[in-house]
């Protein structure tokens, strides 16, 4: 199916509407639900999962297909300024599983440019490093950016502007955001599939810590930690509202993430318009129950949905590609997160 197919009428409905209706009817047949609950139970988000055996795969093709499955059309993207925010928290030599792979960044840029984006830029405000360009070098992204002539913005240091906190879960008050982020029409949270020793998991929502400028929030963005990691995640996502969430799960990280954990070859890419639903799906792929991850549970019904019945899975099913990530019993945030078999 291509992008335009997604909106073709089918018996007076768009294809997506028809699929949703079919899903709802299926639920009604199975559970004898009333019309009112049918409406409640219809899918509210679409998430695409693709297998990708390695970084040599046609990743741009994977992302293009995923965006098409989400109904993204050239008309939606044409001329837009796209900011891709990869997770580059702290590169270490020989530890590529810490950060989004440069080829995923390239694939995402190519996909949006193919849809007619006016420009794609890459922006990150690494949590532990002051030298953003060293981050680019050590992550391998510098070479890709140079080859593809993609601009990079250090979100930690540049101009900042104040925006009302649209969440209100933390006591952060107004949020200070990079001017370069605010100038973008479309923000893409491009995350790595990892466990996390403070938050349980770090996926598309947690990845947005990296847009918070260090000049205002410090390194390692200590203000956000003092305000509470989970409330801060929720507030940032409520305020920034990324248009797309993409997770590089080709090689993820389990155990003592986000930096010191072990590589996990999951071989998947997960993407969608809702960071909440994408994260919930990624959790299921990781063998983690999203309802047991505090900030995802809180986000459910407010910033998106984590409920399987409300997420229309495209491509692979989470169960088909599930690969349980190791969880550490001595890390409180990771205890009791396991999804039932």
């Amino acid at each position: 199916m291509n992008a335009s197919d997604a909106e073709k009428p089918a018996r007076g409905l768009t294809r997506r509407q028809a699929v949703k209706l079919a899903a709802a009817v299926g639920l009604a047949a199975a559970g004898g639900l009333t019309a009112t609950s049918l409406w409640r139970e219809q899918p509210e988000a679409e998430v695409f999962i693709a297998k990708a055996a390695g970084y040599d795969a046609d990743l741009a093709g994977v992302v293009r297909r995923g965006l098409a499955e989400l109904g993204v059309t050239p008309a939606e993207i044409a001329g837009k300024q796209v900011l891709v925010k990869p997770n580059l928290v702290e590169p270490h030599a020989g530890a590529g599983h810490i950060n989004v792979h440069p080829r995923m960044v390239r694939a995402v840029a190519e996909a949006f440019l193919a849809l007619g984006a006016g420009a794609v830029v890459v922006g990150e405000g690494a949590g532990h490093r002051r030298d953003a360009y060293l981050v680019l070098e050590e992550s391998g992204l510098a070479e890709v950016l140079a080859e593809d002539r993609l601009a990079f913005y250090d979100l930690n240091n540049g101009p900042v502007a104040r925006r009302p906190n649209a969440g209100g879960w933390s006591k952060l008050g107004d949020l200070w955001l990079p001017g370069r982020l605010l100038a973008a029409d479309i923000v893409v949270s491009l995350a790595k599939m990892k466990t996390h020793h403070w938050a349980g998991v770090t996926l598309a929502m947690k990845n947005l810590f990296g847009v918070m400028p260090g000049v205002v929030y410090g390194w390692p963005k200590n203000v956000l930690h003092f305000a509470g990691i989970e409330p801060s995640i929720l507030d940032i996502n409520a305020t920034v509202r990324p248009q797309f969430a993409i997770i590089d799960g080709i090689v993820g990280m389990d155990g003592d993430g986000p930096i010191m954990g072990d590589p996990v070859a999951s071989g998947v890419v997960v993407l969608g318009r809702s960071a909440v639903a994408v994260d919930a799906t990624a959790c299921r792929v990781m063998g983690i129950d999203p309802a047991k991850v505090g900030y995802l549970q809180t986000a459910d019904g407010r910033l998106g949905t984590i409920r399987a019945a409300r997420i229309e899975q495209r491509g692979e099913s989470p169960a088909a590609v599930r690969r349980d990530f190791a969880l550490l019993d001595y890390v409180p945030a990771q205890r009791d997160l396991r999804l039932a078999p």
Binding site: D131, E137, A146, A151, D154, V215, V216, V223, D256
Partner: protein, 297 residues
């Protein structure tokens, strides 16, 4: 003094000066105290545009709050980490003695949050949380770079606060990683020892010169001299030079690395002003941080 290659970059820096003496944080962006302070230090170290240096110092003075702090933004007074930078920028100018005094008093009254570590925290983090240093944001914990910058600023006063500086030095030594080097300021989280990074190692070594014996920082000096830190990116190169320079170990290689980092703007695009100015200052001074303050050793 600065040579033709560096002059091109100094010209780029000078072009970011606003009519009021402040410096834009990036090309085409608004001004900010951190950019202004670093620009003033870089220009002073190279004996460039003295009228701009004076104007920059005056702008920083105008931005100083009555309590002595210099905040990043008037609406964000907690982000007071530019106070140490302003103090450094003012230090060579006797006319700014009163500004220096108030900034120093604010720093002395606002260390990073600190507390005796309990047993639960002991299992999670490795460093001694009871030691006082300085923080990025008022009210939060002490970290390596703001502690180092405050030490460099307060240590250059006519009457340095010896006790506070000694405790800050203990803090840095406590945060030194077992195999040498520093990161932003954590040594261990749960069961894993964290890894060093060049820029933080340079900050700590620059601040510890004269406050630690070389044997105690030898692994860190070796790390900073090693190939993993020999990268031509602006802050890593600048603080590699300043860190080694503080121990008499910086030479032409360090200066060349800074120059290479400056040239890499052809690849990355223009650096933001603080990064540009720090790299320029390190190159022009050949890693002698004292040159930013008018010193010669």
């Amino acid at each position: 003094m600065t040579g033709t290659v560096l002059q091109t970059h100094y010209d780029a820096l000078i072009s970011r000066a606003a009519p009021d003496g402040s410096f834009a944080v990036a090309e085409g962006a608004g001004s900010r105290p951190d950019a202004t302070a670093w620009a003033a230090m870089a220009l002073f170290a190279a004996n460039q545009a003295p009228e701009l240096v004076a104007a920059a110092r005056a702008v920083l003075a105008a931005a100083q709050s009555p309590d002595g702090r210099v905040a990043l933004l008037p609406e964000r007074p907690e982000a007071a980490w530019p106070t140490a930078l302003a103090l450094l920028a003012w230090l060579p100018d006797p006319a700014r003695a009163e500004n220096v005094s108030r900034a120093a008093a604010w720093l002395m009254a606002h260390p990073g949050s600190h507390w005796p570590k309990n047993a639960e925290e002991q299992a999670v983090i490795g460093h001694d949380t009871s030691l006082r240093g300085w923080n990025w944001i008022d009210g939060t914990h002490s970290w390596v770079e703001p502690t180092a910058l405050a030490m460099l600023a307060l240590g250059a006063l006519a009457a340095p606060p010896a006790e506070a500086l000694a405790e800050a030095a203990r803090l840095l030594m406590n945060r030194q990683l077992p195999d040498g080097g520093w990161n932003y300021g954590n040594t261990r989280v749960f069961k894993n020892t964290l890894l060093p990074v060049p820029e933080s190692t340079g900050h700590a070594l620059a601040a510890l010169a004269g406050r630690a014996v070389i044997g105690d920082v030898a692994p860190s000096l070796a790390y900073l001299q090693g190939p993993r830190c020999a990268v031509a990116t602006p802050l890593a190169a600048a603080w590699r030079a300043f860190g080694l320079g503080a121990w008499g170990l910086a030479g032409q290689d360090e200066e060349a690395l800074c120059r290479a980092a400056l040239e890499r703007q052809s690849r990355y695009g223009p650096y933001d002003t603080p990064q540009l100015a720090q790299c320029l200052a390190a190159a022009a001074s050949r890693g002698r941080f004292a040159a930013l303050l008018g010193g010669h050793s």
